[in-house]
Amino acid sequence: MTTTTTAPTATTVLDASGVTMRFGGLTAVRDVNLTVNTGEIVGLIGPNGAGKTTFFNCLTGLYVPTEGKVAYKGTVLPPKPHLVTQAGIARTFQNIRLFANMTVLENVLVGRHTRTKEGLWSALLRLPGFKKAEEESRARAMELLEFTGLAAKADHLARNLPYGEQRKLEIARALASEPGLLLLDEPTAGMNPQETRAAEELIFAIRDQGIAVLVIEHDIRFIMNLCDRVAVLVQGEKIVEGPAEVVQADERVIAAYLGTPFEGEPGTAEAAEVEAAEADAQSTTEGDDK
């Protein structure tokens, strides 16, 4: 519905080139190149253990890539998570990592850390700028909570939120750092279809604010609805990149997810036989019910 084709003139937000990550003898990510342009939603898919999250960690400075470099809007990023966030890349985590014992509002306020400057002296002496900065931060945080639909729960502890809202709060917290690029690591994991739908809306809304989004996901339907471009990572290597439909039809992707047909593949006759047996079994169970 809202897939916009990226204009060729769009500026590059993220440019990862030749990113390789080795853990001892294991190469988790091998020579991956990926660009994300402004106003784009890019999907990153792949089977479990393909190295998607490792690649994310390389982008955000949690890991120092063995080779390659990551540039944000033309400047190469230092491999320090807080500097990456300061530069304008925010992320969420696959296994939710909220500050569980802080309130919802406080969580978002922590996200504002890089965009505020009030230091210890300012806090201790309550210098003139302190109150104003605090109020501005709070106002901005409340705005974001309203944006994600959590405003009514601002005073709850993060740990008391239901699962879906914890995911939303992670996104709100990431947005609080005013990023130019948002990295989402499986934002719909464990969600029901309605929640997934809502998450989709939320991501479009974020994109409409001019924030580029790079999203890891397993839910193929979600990815197909959402993404302008999809990259597929298999065993640490990027095998395909392109529009969703192209990727979906690509043989190598199907092979990676479902495996290649082996020799002596069951023919149509066998398939029919299985179907007949299933139908039979079903009718017996239905008979039992009555």
Binding site: T60, L62, P81, H82, T85, Q86, A90, R91, F93, R97, L98, F99, A100, N101, M102, E106, L109, V110, G111, R112, H113, T114, T116, E118, L120, S122, A123, L124, R126, F130, A133, E134, S137, E146, F147, G149, L150, A151, A152, K153, A154, D155, H156, L157, R159, N160, K168, R173, A174, S177, A198, E201, L202, F204, A205, D208, Q282, T285, E286, D289
Partner: protein, 609 residues
């Protein structure tokens, strides 16, 4: 494909209703209450009679018509029981006493009276050699207290049993009968009345505290501990504490001021210099514990060598104090000495923190423990033999002169408003100023961007750095701030104790403050709170100081107490909301009420359209 059969559907619904609770002793309601009232009145009457025949047992228990010593404690406890029990009758004007639980406070207060009286009777019989030494008055009070407990056990229970366990066993029932529901919202009083209530609350607190410090023999102190322990729990169960804390939360600055004023009043209530010295030492201990709370409670850095920072401050102050044994031999005015001490500690904190804060968790704890010991050993070795002569080694720096601030010599007694203020009283007030500064620093830093970042690092350091927080820098800041606060307290400590020796700054020792006790004060009191470490430090200082007969078993008892606390109240005596939730999965019970949704604020729909 199998469809769900009707038989699969479960018909039993989970029990939503809770089982009604029955009293431990089945008695008619009126009889139980009458027994309680009669029993506590009897215990009250007994305190006016003689409890023993000889003055060998301390506390003037031999005089009829005038309660003394342990009798006073029984008296206060019985009055409390009577008031709570009468409030249960619905007598007008007493209803405010029990906004929460109606009957569990009665039981707790009755148990307190029984405990104190029973302890007194036991102590008299034990020390004087036999039950014959008890005069009838003791029996009157003892039997009265027992009757009151029996009556209170027959009172209806305040809340139904948990749905999870509708038929608890006897122990569960006894424990349950001590619980009470939370009080509802209080109606608003005029603000002057609320402020008056806060003042009265702190006044009572000060009186109880001063009484505890002023107890002159250990029997009285143990009785005091029993009655305050039960009495405090009773007041909590009655919901009064909740009411008071709601008021203090509403008038925070007034409450702070009231607490401060109550603390200022303390030395004027003490005529004995020794007790004022205990007060000053408690304040030193408490202030350092509060500084440690920045490091442990806020930033979550387990520091086992924290007392070294106190030592650095104290040594720095001692060196510039003008003591004849100081190797520097200069005499700074007090303000400069304070700055020197705090700055020396700060630098020491940064020097230690910079390499160690790259470690996390247990590793950090062990390394800080090591640095704490290194400090002490270094001070020992800077004696002219094994190193340059700076600190006189194990002799330390003695003869530190008394401070003189604006011509006011803190070493001499002064007459203020008709009351004698002793040397320790002077230092107590000076130390109180330091405590106030540390409280202010703690509160302001906790409620700022920096404080939030510390808490975030404590909660999840990886997520915090991913949110743009420079983890190392902020941890170093917490470490340095904590060190500077301890150094500040150290400068005063050097003058209070006349001399500074390495042995004062151990990891674990018999006299607080030492690193183990500091950490215990923070954890016992409640991490991340202001009042927690203050209360924890007061208890940890007072109990060993008052119960010197059990000095040999002090650490053993201390360990037992800590274990019991961790079992039954892991969040500490004063819990902040976070910790309470963290340790007790009461979960949703604490959720604030949902605010009504703002018009059309369905989040995404609005923003995404």
């Amino acid at each position: 494909m199998t469809t769900e059969t009707p038989m699969d559907k479960t018909t039993d619904t989970t029990k939503v209703s809770t089982a009604p609770a029955t009293p431990i002793i089945p008695l008619p309601h009126t009889a139980a209450r009458a027994l309680t009232v009669a029993g506590s009145a009897l215990a009250l009457a007994g305190t006016f009679l003689a409890w023993t025949w000889t003055d060998e047992f301390p506390g003037k228990l031999t005089i009829t018509g005038y309660p003394g010593g342990l009798q006073v404690l029984t008296l206060v406890g019985s009055v409390l029981t009577l008031l709570f029990a009468l409030s249960g009758y619905g007598i007008r004007g007493l209803g405010w006493l029990t906004p929460g639980g109606k009957n569990s406070p009665v039981l707790l207060a009755a148990l307190g009276v029984f405990g104190t009286t029973g302890y007194a009777m036991g102590a008299i019989s034990y020390e004087l050699g036999g039950l014959v030494n008890l005069e009838p008055g003791a029996w009157v009070s003892g039997i009265g207290a027992l009757v009151a407990v029996i009556g209170a056990l027959g009172l209806p229970v305040d809340q139904p049993y948990d749905a999870a366990d509708p038929t608890p066993n006897l122990w569960g029932r006894i424990r349950h009968s001590l619980t009470a529901p939370e009080p509802g919202r209080a109606k608003d009083l005029p603000s002057w009345a609320e402020i008056l209530i806060i003042a009265a609350g702190f006044g009572v607190g000060l009186y109880v505290f001063a009484y505890g410090i002023g107890t002159e023999y250990s029997e009285l102190f143990i009785g005091f501990l029993i009655i305050t322990g039960f009495g405090f729990t009773a007041v909590t169960r009655a919901g009064l504490l909740k009411r008071l804390s709601a008021l203090t939360a509403k008038h925070r600055n007034v409450a702070m001021a009231a607490a401060f004023v109550a603390a200022i009043c303390f030395p004027f209530t003490q005529t004995n210099d020794q007790f004022a010295l205990i007060g000053a030492n408690i304040l030193i201990f408490a202030t350092v514990a509060l500084g440690l709370n920045v490091v442990v409670g806020l930033a979550g850095l387990l520091d086992l060598g924290y007392v070294a920072f106190l030592g650095v401050g104290a040594y720095a102050a001692a060196l510039v104090s003008g003591s004849p044994q100081s190797s520097i031999g200069v005499e700074f005015p007090f303000w400069a000495a304070v700055l020197t001490g705090a700055a020396a500690s700060l630098i020491f904190g940064v020097v230690i923190g910079a390499p160690t804060l790259r470690l996390r968790g247990d590793y950090l704890a062990i390394v800080t423990l090591g640095f704490g010991e290194i400090f002490r050993i270094t001070m020992n070795n800077l004696n002219g033999n094994s190193g340059p002569d700076v600190t006189n080694g194990s002799n330390g720096i003695p003869n530190i002169p008394d401070l003189e601030i604006f011509g006011f010599n803190l070493g001499l007694p002064h007459n203020v408003l008709g009351t004698e203020l002793t040397r320790s009283g002077n230092y107590y007030l000076l130390m109180l100023l330091c405590t106030a500064i540390v409280v202010l620093v703690f509160r302001r830093s906790a409620e700022s961007r920096i404080g939030r970042a510390w808490v975030a690092i404590r909660e999840d350091e990886t997520a915090a750095t991913a949110m743009g927080i420079n983890g190392f820098r902020l941890k170093l800041l917490a470490f340095a701030l904590g060190a500077a606060l301890a150094g500040l307290a150290g400068t005063v400590q050097a003058h209070v104790s006349y001399s500074v020796t390495p042995e004062q700054y151990q990891f674990a020792g018999s006299v607080p403050p030492n690193s183990a006790f500091l950490l215990a004060a923070v954890i016992l009191g409640g991490m991340g709170t202001i009042s927690g470490p203050l209360i924890g430090a007061a208890l940890l200082y007072l109990i060993p100081a008052k119960l010197q007969f059990m000095a040999e078993y002090q650490l053993l008892l201390f360990g037992v107490a800590l274990m019991l606390l961790m079992r039954f109240r892991p969040e500490g005596l004063v819990a902040d909301r976070r910790k309470q939730l963290e340790f007790h999965e009461t979960g949703q019970l604490d959720v604030p009420e949902d605010k009504p949704l703002p018009e059309g604020a369905t989040g995404v729909a609005k923003a995404g359209a």
